[in-house]
Point group: C2
Chain length 290, copies 2
Protein backbone atom coordinates (compact mmCIF):
# COMPACT_ATOMS: atom_id res chain seq x y z
CA UNK A 1 0.00 0.00 0.00
CA UNK A 2 3.05 2.24 -0.39
CA UNK A 3 1.24 4.35 -2.99
CA UNK A 4 -1.10 5.60 -0.26
CA UNK A 5 1.49 6.42 2.36
CA UNK A 6 3.41 9.64 2.78
CA UNK A 7 2.55 13.07 1.48
CA UNK A 8 -0.55 13.83 -0.51
CA UNK A 9 -0.43 15.54 -3.89
CA UNK A 10 -1.45 19.16 -3.58
CA UNK A 11 -2.02 18.77 0.16
CA UNK A 12 -5.77 18.36 -0.30
CA UNK A 13 -7.50 16.64 2.61
CA UNK A 14 -9.10 13.25 3.06
CA UNK A 15 -12.86 13.54 3.70
CA UNK A 16 -14.71 11.52 6.33
CA UNK A 17 -18.02 11.66 8.19
CA UNK A 18 -17.95 12.88 11.79
CA UNK A 19 -15.92 15.27 13.92
CA UNK A 20 -12.11 15.39 14.20
CA UNK A 21 -10.99 12.32 16.15
CA UNK A 22 -13.77 10.04 14.86
CA UNK A 23 -12.81 6.40 14.22
CA UNK A 24 -12.72 7.26 10.50
CA UNK A 25 -9.78 9.52 11.25
CA UNK A 26 -8.00 6.56 12.86
CA UNK A 27 -8.61 4.62 9.64
CA UNK A 28 -7.19 7.53 7.59
CA UNK A 29 -4.06 7.55 9.76
CA UNK A 30 -3.65 3.78 9.45
CA UNK A 31 -3.87 3.93 5.66
CA UNK A 32 -2.02 7.17 4.95
CA UNK A 33 -0.04 8.94 7.66
CA UNK A 34 -0.39 10.32 11.14
CA UNK A 35 -0.36 13.85 9.78
CA UNK A 36 -2.83 13.39 6.95
CA UNK A 37 -4.91 16.57 6.43
CA UNK A 38 -8.61 15.82 6.94
CA UNK A 39 -11.99 17.26 5.98
CA UNK A 40 -14.73 16.29 8.49
CA UNK A 41 -18.20 16.14 6.86
CA UNK A 42 -21.71 16.00 8.30
CA UNK A 43 -23.16 13.19 6.15
CA UNK A 44 -21.79 10.23 4.24
CA UNK A 45 -23.15 11.76 1.05
CA UNK A 46 -21.11 14.94 1.72
CA UNK A 47 -17.98 12.78 1.98
CA UNK A 48 -18.55 11.26 -1.48
CA UNK A 49 -19.44 14.67 -2.93
CA UNK A 50 -16.33 16.34 -1.45
CA UNK A 51 -14.16 13.77 -3.24
CA UNK A 52 -16.15 13.80 -6.50
CA UNK A 53 -16.01 17.62 -6.66
CA UNK A 54 -12.29 17.77 -5.91
CA UNK A 55 -12.48 19.44 -2.49
CA UNK A 56 -10.85 16.32 -1.07
CA UNK A 57 -8.13 14.12 -2.53
CA UNK A 58 -9.49 10.92 -0.96
CA UNK A 59 -12.38 9.71 1.19
CA UNK A 60 -12.59 7.27 4.08
CA UNK A 61 -15.92 5.47 4.55
CA UNK A 62 -16.95 2.74 6.99
CA UNK A 63 -18.38 -0.24 5.13
CA UNK A 64 -19.09 -2.83 7.81
CA UNK A 65 -18.92 -3.40 11.55
CA UNK A 66 -18.58 -6.77 13.25
CA UNK A 67 -21.57 -6.08 15.55
CA UNK A 68 -23.76 -3.78 13.44
CA UNK A 69 -23.33 -5.24 9.93
CA UNK A 70 -22.80 -3.67 6.52
CA UNK A 71 -23.39 0.04 6.01
CA UNK A 72 -25.85 -0.22 3.12
CA UNK A 73 -25.99 3.54 2.71
CA UNK A 74 -22.31 3.63 1.73
CA UNK A 75 -22.74 0.72 -0.69
CA UNK A 76 -25.52 2.80 -2.27
CA UNK A 77 -23.19 5.80 -2.60
CA UNK A 78 -20.44 3.56 -4.04
CA UNK A 79 -22.87 2.65 -6.81
CA UNK A 80 -24.02 6.22 -7.45
CA UNK A 81 -20.63 7.94 -7.35
CA UNK A 82 -17.89 6.60 -9.57
CA UNK A 83 -15.13 6.61 -6.93
CA UNK A 84 -12.98 3.48 -6.90
CA UNK A 85 -11.90 1.71 -3.71
CA UNK A 86 -8.09 1.71 -3.59
CA UNK A 87 -7.42 0.39 -0.06
CA UNK A 88 -9.10 -1.16 2.96
CA UNK A 89 -8.32 -1.28 6.67
CA UNK A 90 -9.94 -2.45 9.90
CA UNK A 91 -10.06 -0.39 13.08
CA UNK A 92 -10.80 -1.97 16.43
CA UNK A 93 -13.39 0.18 18.17
CA UNK A 94 -11.62 0.92 21.45
CA UNK A 95 -13.48 3.22 23.82
CA UNK A 96 -11.31 5.26 26.15
CA UNK A 97 -12.33 7.39 29.11
CA UNK A 98 -10.90 10.86 28.49
CA UNK A 99 -10.85 13.95 30.74
CA UNK A 100 -9.10 17.30 30.98
CA UNK A 101 -5.51 17.30 32.25
CA UNK A 102 -5.38 17.14 36.05
CA UNK A 103 -8.80 15.50 36.45
CA UNK A 104 -8.51 12.14 38.27
CA UNK A 105 -10.83 9.17 37.93
CA UNK A 106 -12.17 9.49 41.50
CA UNK A 107 -13.55 12.97 40.64
CA UNK A 108 -15.69 11.74 37.73
CA UNK A 109 -19.45 12.06 38.28
CA UNK A 110 -20.67 12.36 34.66
CA UNK A 111 -19.55 10.73 31.43
CA UNK A 112 -20.51 12.18 28.04
CA UNK A 113 -20.55 10.32 24.73
CA UNK A 114 -22.64 9.17 21.79
CA UNK A 115 -25.38 6.81 23.08
CA UNK A 116 -24.04 3.94 20.97
CA UNK A 117 -20.63 4.29 22.66
CA UNK A 118 -22.24 4.60 26.13
CA UNK A 119 -24.22 1.43 25.43
CA UNK A 120 -21.07 -0.42 24.39
CA UNK A 121 -19.57 0.25 27.84
CA UNK A 122 -22.41 -1.03 30.07
CA UNK A 123 -20.14 -3.41 32.04
CA UNK A 124 -17.96 -0.45 32.96
CA UNK A 125 -20.98 1.59 34.08
CA UNK A 126 -22.30 -1.36 36.11
CA UNK A 127 -19.08 -1.25 38.16
CA UNK A 128 -19.46 2.51 38.85
CA UNK A 129 -23.20 3.02 39.43
CA UNK A 130 -22.67 6.52 40.91
CA UNK A 131 -21.45 7.81 37.53
CA UNK A 132 -24.11 9.39 35.35
CA UNK A 133 -24.22 8.66 31.61
CA UNK A 134 -24.94 11.75 29.51
CA UNK A 135 -25.74 11.40 25.79
CA UNK A 136 -23.79 13.65 23.45
CA UNK A 137 -23.80 14.30 19.73
CA UNK A 138 -20.70 12.31 18.90
CA UNK A 139 -17.83 10.59 20.64
CA UNK A 140 -15.01 12.92 19.58
CA UNK A 141 -17.23 15.99 20.06
CA UNK A 142 -17.84 15.00 23.69
CA UNK A 143 -14.06 15.03 24.29
CA UNK A 144 -13.77 18.47 22.70
CA UNK A 145 -16.53 19.82 24.96
CA UNK A 146 -15.18 18.30 28.19
CA UNK A 147 -11.69 19.70 27.46
CA UNK A 148 -12.81 23.15 26.25
CA UNK A 149 -14.99 23.65 29.32
CA UNK A 150 -12.29 22.12 31.57
CA UNK A 151 -15.02 20.21 33.41
CA UNK A 152 -13.56 19.10 36.78
CA UNK A 153 -16.02 16.21 37.39
CA UNK A 154 -16.70 14.90 33.89
CA UNK A 155 -15.11 12.69 31.25
CA UNK A 156 -15.94 11.57 27.73
CA UNK A 157 -15.75 8.26 25.87
CA UNK A 158 -13.98 8.28 22.51
CA UNK A 159 -10.99 7.10 20.47
CA UNK A 160 -7.37 7.66 21.51
CA UNK A 161 -7.03 9.93 18.46
CA UNK A 162 -9.71 12.22 19.91
CA UNK A 163 -7.74 12.46 23.20
CA UNK A 164 -4.64 13.44 21.24
CA UNK A 165 -6.38 15.99 19.00
CA UNK A 166 -8.15 17.82 21.82
CA UNK A 167 -5.34 17.45 24.38
CA UNK A 168 -7.28 15.16 26.70
CA UNK A 169 -5.90 12.77 29.29
CA UNK A 170 -6.85 9.07 29.03
CA UNK A 171 -8.08 7.90 32.45
CA UNK A 172 -9.06 4.35 31.45
CA UNK A 173 -8.28 2.52 28.22
CA UNK A 174 -10.50 0.04 26.42
CA UNK A 175 -13.63 0.19 28.61
CA UNK A 176 -15.89 -1.37 25.93
CA UNK A 177 -17.76 -4.52 26.96
CA UNK A 178 -17.16 -6.45 23.74
CA UNK A 179 -13.69 -6.39 22.20
CA UNK A 180 -14.81 -8.10 19.00
CA UNK A 181 -15.93 -4.71 17.73
CA UNK A 182 -14.15 -3.85 14.47
CA UNK A 183 -15.09 -1.49 11.68
CA UNK A 184 -13.78 -1.96 8.17
CA UNK A 185 -13.10 1.17 6.12
CA UNK A 186 -12.46 1.83 2.43
CA UNK A 187 -10.21 4.52 1.02
CA UNK A 188 -11.68 5.99 -2.17
CA UNK A 189 -10.05 8.12 -4.86
CA UNK A 190 -11.23 9.80 -8.03
CA UNK A 191 -10.91 7.54 -11.10
CA UNK A 192 -8.15 9.68 -12.72
CA UNK A 193 -6.13 9.59 -9.50
CA UNK A 194 -6.53 5.80 -9.20
CA UNK A 195 -5.38 5.42 -12.82
CA UNK A 196 -2.30 7.61 -12.33
CA UNK A 197 -1.46 6.08 -8.91
CA UNK A 198 -2.74 2.50 -9.06
CA UNK A 199 -2.77 0.75 -5.66
CA UNK A 200 0.38 -1.32 -5.15
CA UNK A 201 1.07 -4.25 -2.85
CA UNK A 202 4.16 -6.25 -1.99
CA UNK A 203 4.85 -9.12 -4.38
CA UNK A 204 3.03 -12.00 -2.71
CA UNK A 205 0.28 -9.96 -1.08
CA UNK A 206 -3.32 -10.89 -1.73
CA UNK A 207 -5.72 -8.62 -3.63
CA UNK A 208 -9.41 -8.15 -3.20
CA UNK A 209 -12.04 -7.02 -5.66
CA UNK A 210 -15.40 -5.65 -4.49
CA UNK A 211 -18.44 -5.62 -6.71
CA UNK A 212 -22.19 -5.12 -6.66
CA UNK A 213 -24.60 -6.93 -8.93
CA UNK A 214 -28.31 -7.61 -9.13
CA UNK A 215 -30.30 -10.59 -10.30
CA UNK A 216 -33.93 -11.44 -10.58
CA UNK A 217 -35.39 -14.60 -9.07
CA UNK A 218 -32.72 -15.64 -6.62
CA UNK A 219 -32.94 -19.50 -6.48
CA UNK A 220 -31.04 -20.62 -9.52
CA UNK A 221 -29.68 -17.15 -10.32
CA UNK A 222 -27.41 -16.78 -7.30
CA UNK A 223 -26.15 -20.34 -7.60
CA UNK A 224 -25.27 -19.72 -11.25
CA UNK A 225 -23.71 -16.36 -10.42
CA UNK A 226 -21.46 -18.02 -7.84
CA UNK A 227 -20.50 -20.69 -10.37
CA UNK A 228 -18.71 -17.91 -12.32
CA UNK A 229 -16.28 -17.75 -9.38
CA UNK A 230 -16.30 -21.38 -8.18
CA UNK A 231 -15.51 -22.70 -11.69
CA UNK A 232 -12.40 -20.49 -11.74
CA UNK A 233 -11.28 -21.31 -8.17
CA UNK A 234 -11.72 -17.71 -7.08
CA UNK A 235 -12.07 -17.38 -3.30
CA UNK A 236 -15.02 -15.35 -2.10
CA UNK A 237 -14.47 -13.38 1.11
CA UNK A 238 -17.90 -11.75 1.32
CA UNK A 239 -21.37 -12.23 -0.04
CA UNK A 240 -24.46 -10.40 1.08
CA UNK A 241 -27.91 -10.15 -0.44
CA UNK A 242 -30.14 -7.15 -0.06
CA UNK A 243 -33.75 -7.26 -1.18
CA UNK A 244 -34.68 -4.28 -3.36
CA UNK A 245 -37.63 -2.50 -1.72
CA UNK A 246 -40.64 -2.19 -3.98
CA UNK A 247 -39.12 -4.71 -6.42
CA UNK A 248 -40.11 -8.14 -5.13
CA UNK A 249 -37.74 -10.88 -6.24
CA UNK A 250 -35.00 -8.49 -7.22
CA UNK A 251 -31.87 -8.64 -5.15
CA UNK A 252 -28.69 -6.70 -4.91
CA UNK A 253 -25.56 -8.61 -3.94
CA UNK A 254 -22.32 -7.34 -2.48
CA UNK A 255 -19.53 -9.72 -3.32
CA UNK A 256 -15.78 -9.76 -2.74
CA UNK A 257 -13.20 -12.15 -4.09
CA UNK A 258 -9.45 -12.59 -3.68
CA UNK A 259 -7.94 -11.47 -6.98
CA UNK A 260 -7.30 -8.32 -8.97
CA UNK A 261 -10.17 -7.51 -11.34
CA UNK A 262 -7.72 -7.36 -14.27
CA UNK A 263 -6.27 -10.86 -13.69
CA UNK A 264 -7.27 -13.21 -16.55
CA UNK A 265 -9.40 -15.60 -14.45
CA UNK A 266 -11.13 -12.65 -12.75
CA UNK A 267 -11.85 -11.09 -16.15
CA UNK A 268 -13.38 -14.38 -17.29
CA UNK A 269 -15.47 -14.66 -14.12
CA UNK A 270 -16.71 -11.06 -14.48
CA UNK A 271 -17.62 -11.63 -18.14
CA UNK A 272 -19.46 -14.80 -17.14
CA UNK A 273 -21.28 -12.91 -14.36
CA UNK A 274 -22.23 -10.12 -16.81
CA UNK A 275 -24.16 -12.71 -18.85
CA UNK A 276 -26.25 -13.58 -15.77
CA UNK A 277 -26.65 -10.28 -13.92
CA UNK A 278 -29.08 -7.47 -14.72
CA UNK A 279 -26.54 -5.01 -13.41
CA UNK A 280 -22.88 -5.28 -12.40
CA UNK A 281 -20.42 -2.72 -11.12
CA UNK A 282 -16.85 -3.39 -10.00
CA UNK A 283 -16.20 -1.04 -7.07
CA UNK A 284 -12.43 -1.50 -6.98
CA UNK A 285 -9.43 -3.81 -6.59
CA UNK A 286 -7.11 -3.17 -3.66
CA UNK A 287 -4.51 -4.93 -1.50
CA UNK A 288 -6.13 -7.10 1.18
CA UNK A 289 -5.89 -5.37 4.57
CA UNK A 290 -4.19 -7.00 7.56
CA UNK B 1 -50.18 -15.40 11.95
CA UNK B 2 -53.39 -15.83 13.92
CA UNK B 3 -51.58 -17.86 16.60
CA UNK B 4 -49.74 -14.70 17.65
CA UNK B 5 -52.69 -12.34 17.80
CA UNK B 6 -55.03 -11.71 20.68
CA UNK B 7 -54.42 -12.31 24.35
CA UNK B 8 -51.25 -13.75 25.73
CA UNK B 9 -51.24 -16.81 27.98
CA UNK B 10 -50.68 -15.79 31.58
CA UNK B 11 -50.52 -12.11 30.62
CA UNK B 12 -46.72 -12.16 30.70
CA UNK B 13 -45.11 -9.38 28.70
CA UNK B 14 -43.15 -9.26 25.46
CA UNK B 15 -39.56 -8.14 26.03
CA UNK B 16 -37.74 -5.66 23.79
CA UNK B 17 -34.69 -3.43 23.93
CA UNK B 18 -35.26 0.29 24.51
CA UNK B 19 -37.77 2.52 26.27
CA UNK B 20 -41.57 2.34 25.95
CA UNK B 21 -42.51 3.63 22.50
CA UNK B 22 -39.36 2.34 20.77
CA UNK B 23 -39.80 1.03 17.21
CA UNK B 24 -39.63 -2.49 18.68
CA UNK B 25 -42.89 -1.75 20.48
CA UNK B 26 -44.45 -0.87 17.11
CA UNK B 27 -43.27 -4.25 15.82
CA UNK B 28 -44.82 -5.98 18.87
CA UNK B 29 -48.12 -4.23 18.19
CA UNK B 30 -48.03 -5.18 14.51
CA UNK B 31 -47.45 -8.84 15.34
CA UNK B 32 -49.61 -9.23 18.46
CA UNK B 33 -52.06 -6.57 19.52
CA UNK B 34 -52.24 -2.89 20.29
CA UNK B 35 -52.56 -3.64 23.99
CA UNK B 36 -49.77 -6.19 24.28
CA UNK B 37 -48.03 -5.95 27.70
CA UNK B 38 -44.35 -5.12 27.27
CA UNK B 39 -41.08 -5.41 29.19
CA UNK B 40 -38.52 -2.79 28.11
CA UNK B 41 -34.91 -3.98 28.59
CA UNK B 42 -31.59 -2.15 28.57
CA UNK B 43 -29.59 -4.52 26.32
CA UNK B 44 -30.37 -7.04 23.62
CA UNK B 45 -28.88 -9.76 25.80
CA UNK B 46 -31.35 -8.85 28.58
CA UNK B 47 -34.20 -9.33 26.10
CA UNK B 48 -33.09 -12.88 25.26
CA UNK B 49 -32.47 -13.65 28.95
CA UNK B 50 -35.92 -12.33 30.02
CA UNK B 51 -37.56 -14.75 27.59
CA UNK B 52 -35.26 -17.69 28.37
CA UNK B 53 -35.86 -17.26 32.11
CA UNK B 54 -39.62 -16.95 31.77
CA UNK B 55 -39.99 -13.31 32.85
CA UNK B 56 -41.37 -12.61 29.38
CA UNK B 57 -43.62 -14.73 27.17
CA UNK B 58 -42.06 -13.54 23.93
CA UNK B 59 -39.30 -11.27 22.65
CA UNK B 60 -39.07 -8.80 19.79
CA UNK B 61 -35.62 -8.22 18.30
CA UNK B 62 -34.52 -6.13 15.30
CA UNK B 63 -32.55 -8.25 12.86
CA UNK B 64 -31.80 -5.95 9.92
CA UNK B 65 -32.28 -2.41 8.72
CA UNK B 66 -32.37 -1.32 5.08
CA UNK B 67 -29.76 1.41 5.66
CA UNK B 68 -27.66 -0.01 8.50
CA UNK B 69 -27.58 -3.74 7.63
CA UNK B 70 -27.92 -6.91 9.71
CA UNK B 71 -27.72 -6.72 13.48
CA UNK B 72 -24.96 -9.30 13.99
CA UNK B 73 -25.25 -9.09 17.76
CA UNK B 74 -28.79 -10.49 17.63
CA UNK B 75 -27.76 -13.26 15.23
CA UNK B 76 -25.10 -14.14 17.83
CA UNK B 77 -27.73 -14.28 20.59
CA UNK B 78 -30.02 -16.39 18.36
CA UNK B 79 -27.22 -18.95 18.19
CA UNK B 80 -26.46 -18.87 21.92
CA UNK B 81 -30.03 -18.92 23.23
CA UNK B 82 -32.35 -21.62 22.01
CA UNK B 83 -35.34 -19.38 21.29
CA UNK B 84 -37.10 -20.10 18.00
CA UNK B 85 -38.28 -17.40 15.61
CA UNK B 86 -42.06 -17.74 15.20
CA UNK B 87 -42.93 -14.58 13.23
CA UNK B 88 -41.37 -11.65 11.36
CA UNK B 89 -42.50 -8.14 10.52
CA UNK B 90 -41.09 -4.97 8.98
CA UNK B 91 -41.57 -1.52 10.46
CA UNK B 92 -40.98 1.59 8.42
CA UNK B 93 -38.88 3.96 10.50
CA UNK B 94 -41.05 7.08 10.48
CA UNK B 95 -39.72 9.98 12.51
CA UNK B 96 -42.34 12.34 13.91
CA UNK B 97 -41.88 15.70 15.58
CA UNK B 98 -43.64 15.49 18.94
CA UNK B 99 -44.28 18.17 21.59
CA UNK B 100 -46.44 18.75 24.67
CA UNK B 101 -50.10 19.57 24.07
CA UNK B 102 -50.62 23.24 23.25
CA UNK B 103 -47.07 23.78 21.90
CA UNK B 104 -47.13 24.99 18.30
CA UNK B 105 -44.46 24.46 15.66
CA UNK B 106 -43.53 28.16 15.51
CA UNK B 107 -42.49 28.04 19.18
CA UNK B 108 -39.95 25.23 18.70
CA UNK B 109 -36.32 26.28 19.30
CA UNK B 110 -34.78 22.93 20.34
CA UNK B 111 -35.38 19.37 19.20
CA UNK B 112 -34.27 16.40 21.29
CA UNK B 113 -33.67 12.86 20.05
CA UNK B 114 -31.17 10.05 19.64
CA UNK B 115 -28.32 11.26 17.38
CA UNK B 116 -29.10 8.58 14.81
CA UNK B 117 -32.68 9.88 14.50
CA UNK B 118 -31.47 13.51 14.38
CA UNK B 119 -29.06 12.56 11.59
CA UNK B 120 -31.85 10.86 9.65
CA UNK B 121 -33.76 14.19 9.56
CA UNK B 122 -31.03 16.49 8.20
CA UNK B 123 -33.18 17.77 5.30
CA UNK B 124 -35.78 18.90 7.82
CA UNK B 125 -33.16 20.69 9.93
CA UNK B 126 -31.69 22.35 6.83
CA UNK B 127 -35.09 23.98 6.25
CA UNK B 128 -35.22 25.31 9.85
CA UNK B 129 -31.66 26.42 10.62
CA UNK B 130 -32.75 28.36 13.75
CA UNK B 131 -33.78 25.10 15.47
CA UNK B 132 -31.11 23.54 17.67
CA UNK B 133 -30.54 19.76 17.61
CA UNK B 134 -30.00 18.30 21.07
CA UNK B 135 -28.79 14.69 21.44
CA UNK B 136 -30.74 12.53 23.85
CA UNK B 137 -30.44 8.99 25.14
CA UNK B 138 -33.18 7.48 23.03
CA UNK B 139 -35.99 8.56 20.74
CA UNK B 140 -38.96 7.57 22.92
CA UNK B 141 -37.18 8.80 26.08
CA UNK B 142 -36.81 12.26 24.53
CA UNK B 143 -40.61 12.41 24.08
CA UNK B 144 -41.14 11.37 27.70
CA UNK B 145 -38.80 14.13 28.92
CA UNK B 146 -40.29 16.88 26.73
CA UNK B 147 -43.83 15.99 27.88
CA UNK B 148 -43.01 15.50 31.57
CA UNK B 149 -41.20 18.84 31.76
CA UNK B 150 -43.91 20.47 29.60
CA UNK B 151 -41.17 22.27 27.68
CA UNK B 152 -42.85 25.22 25.87
CA UNK B 153 -40.14 25.67 23.19
CA UNK B 154 -38.96 22.11 22.57
CA UNK B 155 -39.98 18.98 20.70
CA UNK B 156 -38.68 15.44 20.30
CA UNK B 157 -38.29 13.07 17.36
CA UNK B 158 -39.70 9.56 17.77
CA UNK B 159 -42.32 7.04 16.66
CA UNK B 160 -46.06 7.71 16.65
CA UNK B 161 -46.37 5.04 19.37
CA UNK B 162 -44.14 7.15 21.64
CA UNK B 163 -46.44 10.17 21.11
CA UNK B 164 -49.43 8.04 22.09
CA UNK B 165 -47.79 6.47 25.16
CA UNK B 166 -46.53 9.73 26.66
CA UNK B 167 -49.52 11.85 25.56
CA UNK B 168 -47.56 13.98 23.11
CA UNK B 169 -48.88 15.98 20.18
CA UNK B 170 -47.51 15.23 16.70
CA UNK B 171 -46.49 18.54 15.08
CA UNK B 172 -44.99 17.12 11.89
CA UNK B 173 -45.22 13.57 10.57
CA UNK B 174 -42.54 11.69 8.67
CA UNK B 175 -39.69 14.21 8.76
CA UNK B 176 -37.00 11.62 7.92
CA UNK B 177 -34.88 12.35 4.84
CA UNK B 178 -34.93 8.81 3.45
CA UNK B 179 -38.20 6.89 3.41
CA UNK B 180 -36.53 3.63 2.39
CA UNK B 181 -35.70 3.07 6.04
CA UNK B 182 -37.23 -0.20 7.26
CA UNK B 183 -36.31 -2.45 10.16
CA UNK B 184 -37.18 -6.13 10.17
CA UNK B 185 -38.03 -7.71 13.52
CA UNK B 186 -38.35 -11.30 14.73
CA UNK B 187 -40.78 -12.52 17.38
CA UNK B 188 -39.17 -15.23 19.52
CA UNK B 189 -40.76 -17.73 21.91
CA UNK B 190 -39.45 -20.42 24.20
CA UNK B 191 -39.19 -23.84 22.48
CA UNK B 192 -42.02 -25.42 24.58
CA UNK B 193 -44.33 -22.53 23.73
CA UNK B 194 -43.49 -22.78 20.01
CA UNK B 195 -44.22 -26.53 20.13
CA UNK B 196 -47.57 -26.07 21.87
CA UNK B 197 -48.56 -23.08 19.72
CA UNK B 198 -46.86 -23.61 16.36
CA UNK B 199 -46.98 -20.58 14.08
CA UNK B 200 -49.88 -20.80 11.64
CA UNK B 201 -50.44 -19.10 8.30
CA UNK B 202 -53.31 -18.94 5.86
CA UNK B 203 -53.38 -21.82 3.40
CA UNK B 204 -51.44 -20.40 0.47
CA UNK B 205 -49.16 -18.18 2.48
CA UNK B 206 -45.41 -18.51 2.05
CA UNK B 207 -43.13 -19.71 4.83
CA UNK B 208 -39.58 -18.77 5.61
CA UNK B 209 -36.87 -20.68 7.42
CA UNK B 210 -33.84 -18.89 8.91
CA UNK B 211 -30.61 -20.70 9.63
CA UNK B 212 -26.97 -20.11 10.49
CA UNK B 213 -24.13 -22.32 9.35
CA UNK B 214 -20.37 -22.18 9.14
CA UNK B 215 -17.92 -23.55 6.60
CA UNK B 216 -14.20 -23.51 6.20
CA UNK B 217 -12.49 -22.40 3.00
CA UNK B 218 -15.22 -20.47 1.28
CA UNK B 219 -14.60 -20.89 -2.51
CA UNK B 220 -16.05 -24.29 -3.27
CA UNK B 221 -17.73 -24.66 0.12
CA UNK B 222 -20.34 -21.93 -0.26
CA UNK B 223 -21.09 -22.96 -3.83
CA UNK B 224 -21.67 -26.55 -2.69
CA UNK B 225 -23.71 -25.39 0.30
CA UNK B 226 -26.00 -23.43 -2.01
CA UNK B 227 -26.34 -26.44 -4.28
CA UNK B 228 -28.27 -28.13 -1.41
CA UNK B 229 -30.98 -25.53 -2.01
CA UNK B 230 -30.64 -24.93 -5.77
CA UNK B 231 -30.89 -28.67 -6.54
CA UNK B 232 -34.23 -28.76 -4.70
CA UNK B 233 -35.61 -25.53 -6.23
CA UNK B 234 -35.71 -23.82 -2.85
CA UNK B 235 -35.81 -20.03 -3.15
CA UNK B 236 -33.27 -18.15 -1.06
CA UNK B 237 -34.37 -14.77 0.28
CA UNK B 238 -31.22 -13.88 2.19
CA UNK B 239 -27.60 -14.86 2.29
CA UNK B 240 -24.90 -13.09 4.22
CA UNK B 241 -21.37 -14.12 5.07
CA UNK B 242 -19.57 -12.99 8.18
CA UNK B 243 -15.86 -13.66 8.63
CA UNK B 244 -15.08 -15.20 12.01
CA UNK B 245 -12.55 -12.96 13.80
CA UNK B 246 -9.38 -14.76 14.79
CA UNK B 247 -10.33 -17.73 12.60
CA UNK B 248 -9.07 -16.92 9.12
CA UNK B 249 -10.96 -18.70 6.36
CA UNK B 250 -13.86 -19.64 8.60
CA UNK B 251 -17.14 -18.01 7.76
CA UNK B 252 -20.54 -17.85 9.31
CA UNK B 253 -23.51 -17.59 6.95
CA UNK B 254 -27.01 -16.36 7.61
CA UNK B 255 -29.38 -17.90 5.13
CA UNK B 256 -33.14 -17.80 4.60
CA UNK B 257 -35.24 -19.82 2.22
CA UNK B 258 -38.93 -19.95 1.34
CA UNK B 259 -40.22 -23.19 2.86
CA UNK B 260 -41.03 -24.71 6.24
CA UNK B 261 -38.05 -26.55 7.73
CA UNK B 262 -40.19 -29.70 8.12
CA UNK B 263 -41.24 -29.86 4.46
CA UNK B 264 -39.68 -32.93 2.73
CA UNK B 265 -37.51 -30.98 0.25
CA UNK B 266 -36.35 -28.64 3.02
CA UNK B 267 -35.46 -31.64 5.21
CA UNK B 268 -33.42 -33.08 2.35
CA UNK B 269 -31.68 -29.77 1.74
CA UNK B 270 -30.85 -29.40 5.45
CA UNK B 271 -29.49 -32.95 5.63
CA UNK B 272 -27.40 -32.25 2.55
CA UNK B 273 -26.12 -29.00 4.10
CA UNK B 274 -25.26 -30.83 7.34
CA UNK B 275 -22.84 -33.01 5.38
CA UNK B 276 -20.99 -29.89 4.19
CA UNK B 277 -21.19 -27.50 7.15
CA UNK B 278 -19.04 -27.52 10.28
CA UNK B 279 -21.99 -26.18 12.21
CA UNK B 280 -25.67 -25.68 11.39
CA UNK B 281 -28.55 -24.31 13.43
CA UNK B 282 -32.11 -23.76 12.21
CA UNK B 283 -33.35 -20.60 13.94
CA UNK B 284 -37.03 -21.04 13.10
CA UNK B 285 -39.75 -21.39 10.46
CA UNK B 286 -42.42 -18.70 10.33
CA UNK B 287 -44.98 -17.17 7.97
CA UNK B 288 -43.40 -14.71 5.55
CA UNK B 289 -44.20 -11.14 6.63
CA UNK B 290 -45.96 -8.68 4.31
Amino acid sequence: MSAHRGKLPGGKPIAFQGARGAFSEEAARQLLSRRVPVLPCERFEDVFRALAEGRAEGAIVPIENTLAGSVHENYDHLQTFNLPIVAETSVRIVHNLIAAQGVTFSKIKRIFSHPVALNQCLDFFARYPHIERVPFYDTAGSVKMVIEKQLPDAAAIASAVAAEIYGGHILRRSIESDRRNFTRFFLLRRPEYARRHPPRASKNAAWKTSLVFSTRNIPGALFRALSAFALRDLNLTKIESRPLRGKPWEYLFYLEFLERADAPNAQNALNHLRELADFLRVLGSYPKGA
